[in-house]
Amino acid sequence: MLGTLRDAFGPLVEAARDIAAILVVIAFFQIIVLQQPFPDLGKMVVGMSLVLLGLAFFVRGLEIGLFPVGDAMAHAFVRKGSAFWLLLFAFALGFCTTVAEPALIAVAGKAAEAAAQDGMIQAGHEAMQDYALGLRLTVALSVGCAIVLGVLRIIFNWPLHWCMMTGYVLVVATTYIAPHEIIGIAYDSGGVTTSTITVPMVTALGIGLASSIRGRNPVLDGFGLIAFASLLPILFVMVYGIWVTA
């Protein structure tokens, strides 16, 4: 009984610590800087309790669900010894979780609107939808390729910082020739691709692989998949921008 209680309250206390800062910031700006009353205190309290409960559940779910599955699947792929299926899995994981990502859909829609306003594409509804869909597919493709590259890095033991520096050089070079309008969106798309549910899964996969391949260190080789997934979309989106305006 005591154990269950601790299981239930431990995460809640941690969650409270995690969101305390947001409360302080919002209260400070609302009361002292903007000098306005809180619009609806009851709603605030209900909302914050939901956030608290939600975080506690999420963390517990990671511990008993997502992390063990990612780990177990990574071990199973290594045991199976087929690089083809592992890489296909890596691509599917990256592509499928990104293409339906709501944050990406929102950003792509806004980017299409803005591009139409600036006359980069035609203002019609169809042209905008094509552009937004193209952007989404580009980003999803890039994340799929990124996870594949990241897994290859773990298998072949390439040093991560050399991969990243090569990536940076390519990004900088492409920035020179990419149309001006696409650059902000391209750099942003690196950030929005990795959602709350993909990150733990991909991390667990990487660490699982690194700990089941002999001679790899989980800390040194297990992390780094997300790094690829945030760099490659920048490159791919700029190339898409060049291709659309060409």
Partner: protein
């Protein structure tokens, strides 16, 4: 009450739509390719239900309490009437010093939302676990949060002054490359990863509101070119701050070891 129920239903559908592709990919590969029995099926399923339920409640709470207020704040703080005390701002040139509260807000929002970011909590947990406690989850997250805050503040300064985005990003990359040579090797992959995880559920909507509000209230800024881009700052600067955190803790450790010996 009814409003809450419909908000719950809507958020639940959104989250399910978000999680479904992952579950389908996992299930397909588990049952068709790997074909082994899933470890502790019941426990794992409970875990996935917890994750989905947790995200739904979390998002609901954010949409109820934080987002509307945060977005209104971002708009009010970037409103020329607040900044100059008059709506007649077109006659004045834009001075970056006038936007003091915007920078402070950007910094504060950067730190506080990053600390609440679930994806970063996940990375912190994993890092502490696999490093055997050598990497402290809370310290790592604090380092990332400060990186995001500094990045977003500089990003706001950039929007106000209207300088080119790529200049800043390239300068940041150069710093990252130099730091990479000087940092303990163990932290490097983690540092590069933390750049990508900082910006998701909590941070992006508020940053987007701030960036777009700022870009549309300053004459001569285009929301397309200038409004986007804050997220880019929030993804590069945490790499710098996490590497710096590792460098500083390594140096402190060395010094205390020397003192003990000497």
């Amino acid at each position: 009450m009814q409003e809450m129920a419909s908000l719950f239903a809507q958020t639940f559908l959104d989250t399910l739509f978000d999680v479904m592709p992952l579950i389908i990919v996992l299930a397909l590969f588990q049952f068709l390719v790997l074909r082994g029995p899933l470890i502790e099926t019941f426990r794992v399923m409970r875990g996935f239900i917890y994750v989905i339920l947790g995200l739904v409640l979390f998002l609901m709470g954010l949409r109820e309490a934080i987002f509307p207020l945060g977005e209104v704040m971002a708009r009010q703080l970037t409103d020329p009437e607040f900044i100059y005390g008059t709506a007649d701002y077109l006659v004045r040139a834009t001075h970056w010093q006038d936007y003091g509260w915007v920078y402070i807000f950007a910094f504060a929002i950067g730190v506080s939302t990053t600390l609440a970011e679930p994806a970063l909590i996940a990375i912190g947990m994993k890092a502490e676990q696999v490093s055997g406690g050598a990497i402290n989850a809370w310290g790592l997250r604090m380092a990332v949060a400060i990186g995001v805050a500094v990045g977003v503040t500089i990003g706001c300064y950039r929007i106000v002054t209207g300088t080119d985005l790529w200049l800043y990003i390239i300068a940041a990359y150069v710093i990252v490359i130099i730091q990479t040579q000087l940092s303990p090797r163990m932290i490097i992959p983690l540092a590069y990863d933390s750049g990508g995880v900082t910006t998701s559920t909590v941070t992006v909507p508020l940053l987007a509101a701030l960036g777009l509000g700022l870009a549309s209230s300053i004459p001569g800024r285009s929301p397309l070119i200038d409004g986007f881009g804050l997220i880019a700052f929030a993804s590069v600067f945490p790499i710098i701050s996490v590497l710096a955190y590792a460098q500083i803790s390594e140096r402190l450790e060395k010094r205390s070891r020397l003192e003990k010996e000497g």
